[in-house]
Symmetry: C2
Subunit: 389 residues, 2 copies
């Protein structure tokens, strides 16, 4: 292996692509499997999905799972749902398992945005104006494209649809509400997820349309269609955490991602490191707190629990089967590994920004001790959220 290849493969110290790497088939994603794989699909998974659209016949009485909690969650998802379902008749889930095609044609005349650096700066600022809170740019990387895509609706496979000539990928991140995430696990907290997606759709569709209106090809999607986290890491948005999620500096793991592929000439960002590997090495809180033990202890590894893990990538990977089994058991999405993560803080507060800096130094042991001592990451009652609003 020559040096260039080595640099290419070692994206960061806790994310390494190995020689036996294989592209991932979307069909093996645990969400897709929940539609076609008898090992996953059950009455419970069917109910899990149904209650995002139709009210439960008998509401649960448990805190965070009442009619009101579901009412808010499903309302928060509503705009995302309208947009993703708009071409269901063509076997598409726009912006989710398929890219968004609900754009108007590309302008004939191409606008010159100056140097690649100037163009990148401008596109990033427009992304922020359209609602993104973080934005980075990297190159198209076929490794993070699915080997083939899969429809939940028809249970058919299709060839991937992002053309390789769209050689730049703009990755955006939108935060989820901190106070709602505190109530995880709850149907209520799914409102943070839903609102994240609804705003994500607005940002991605608008930015994609802007680039098309400038005369360049652009195709957008939310956090599916391809593997969003490796793209986000390569675009400098953060690092892999033990919970298998992107850890950002500004919101920790509390983000939703979106991607825009384009042939607009753009400058690329570099991956960042701010101590996540060393911190996750000593932390293990997410692994301890996961009720179904889907998160690994120990060092990043290339372990494959089942077909829902990508082959040939050394990183912290979760067991998707175990993870999703808890989602369906409680009848809403779970984000305990986001709630308990010491990086899940309100970084608009200076004290937390100082903590973040120190977590990247030898003081990380003290920081971790303080985090537990001060009760960060503790579950808040959903009924208290309703009282406080």
């Amino acid at each position: 292996m020559n040096i260039e290849q080595k640099n290419h493969n070692n994206t960061s110290e806790n994310f390494e692509v190995l020689d036996n790497f294989e592209r991932f088939d979307q069909k093996n994603d645990v969400f897709r499997r929940s539609w076609w794989d008898k090992k996953i699909r059950s009455k419970k998974t069917e109910l899990f999905y149904a209650t995002y659209r139709e009210p439960l016949k008998t509401w649960r009485k448990a805190d965070g799972f009442t009619q009101k909690d579901y009412a808010l969650r499903n309302a928060a998802w509503h705009v995302s749902d309208i947009l993703t379902e708009i071409n269901a008749g063509q076997d598409r889930r726009e912006g989710f398992s398929d890219a968004f095609t609900i754009q108007t044609p590309i302008a004939e005349n191409k606008i010159n945005l100056g140097t690649e650096r100037e163009a990148s700066n401008e596109i990033k600022k427009i992304a922020l104006a359209f609602g993104a809170e973080l934005v980075g740019i990297t190159k198209y990387d076929s490794r993070w494209e699915y080997s083939s895509k899969f429809s939940d609706l028809s249970l058919k496979s299709y060839p991937p649809e992002i053309p390789e000539n769209l050689n730049n990928v703009i990755v955006v991140a939108l935060p989820m509400d901190y106070e709602l995430v505190k109530t995880v696990p709850s149907a209520l907290s799914g409102s943070a997820t839903g609102l994240g997606y609804s705003h994500d759709a607005l940002t991605v569709l608008s930015l994609t349309q802007y680039i098309r209106n400038l005369g360049y090809e652009a195709i957008g999607s939310m956090n599916d269609t391809s593997l969003a986290i490796p793209y986000a890491i390569q675009a400098g948005l953060g690092e892999y955490g033990r919970n298998g999620l992107l850890i950002t500096k500004k919101y920790g793991p509390r983000v939703r991602l979106g991607k825009i592929y384009t042939d607009l000439p753009l400058n690329h960002d570099k991956p960042i490191q701010f101590g996540v590997k060393k911190f996750c090495n000593i932390c293990n809180i997410c692994a301890k707190e996961c009720p179904v033990k889907a998160i690994p202890y120990g060092a990043p590894s290339e372990i494959s629990y089942n077909q829902s893990n990508i082959i040939g990538v050394r990183k912290w990977s979760v067991d998707g089967e175990k993870c999703f089994s808890f989602w369906t058991a409680q009848n809403s999405d779970c984000s305990i590994c986001i709630r308990v993560c010491p990086y899940n803080k309100d970084y608009s507060k200076r004290i937390n920004r100082i903590g973040l800096k120190l977590s990247g130094t030898w003081l990380r042991h003290l920081l971790l001790w303080l985090d537990v001592k001060l009760g960060f990451g503790k579950r808040q009652k959903s009924s208290n959220w309703w009282k406080k609003i």
Copy 2:
């Protein structure tokens, strides 16, 4: 006229409903007339609308009207466009000239939200969580419903579609970007309008869906379907200004409105007054600066310039024909009367909040003099906006 009627009619000192009041036919709205009335419709109005969707063949070179300016404007409108056009096949413009019907069914079980006051408090907080910046509640008022509605697509009239039993109206306001509005008139500044609508759609659709998920009927729309400003005034969001627009305390006239009709029992807000009438009486800046002199000098009156004015309401009313003629002449929406209004300030700054308080006192002459002296409301070059971002 008994006292109750009098209170009902005198909504505020600069907004009075007279005995000869007649409900407004949506067909007479100047935007609707631009489709059916030969006096308004022309090659120019057709081009005006077409360029919101399709690129101009030859871009204007003028500052604020280049391809890039239109690119951003149309991208900002994109999500609003997708949603409003979703049922065009059924002769509907969802959320604009027609109410939104893109909601899921009402839950069978009605949730009790406590007293009307408690319910109102909760709904207002959820409205804010869904992106509204201002929210107020008033009662259904048939005077602000169109006598009949009109389709731009088929040029047909239809009976109004909001049932009277939806006796409460929640009015939300979302601000438009201050820096973009500074560049008015420009195609660029239309991005503030477009983003305002796209976010408005998200807020209205989500809040409407939330109420439906609680088991109550709810129908939402953006700032058409009925007369939004009188509803907003009755819901305590602000006062009528000389420019015929709603003047709010937090954003002045720089807002987009949305409405949700519901039978959820709610408490009503009261109209507010913070000195707008007296200030507009001495100001006249919008009347002076309007290039087509569509804004009146003098006191509020019941003048009807043409069929686009409502009959029997004493207020400051603009001449819609003149106003819209400027929109089409420059090929983008105009908001000069928003940009130059002394109430169009960045009220996140303390100094401007102090100014707002003083504008409601005898110091208003000084405030107005200062406003002109300090150059507030001056047009900024669009090219400078692009440089600054």
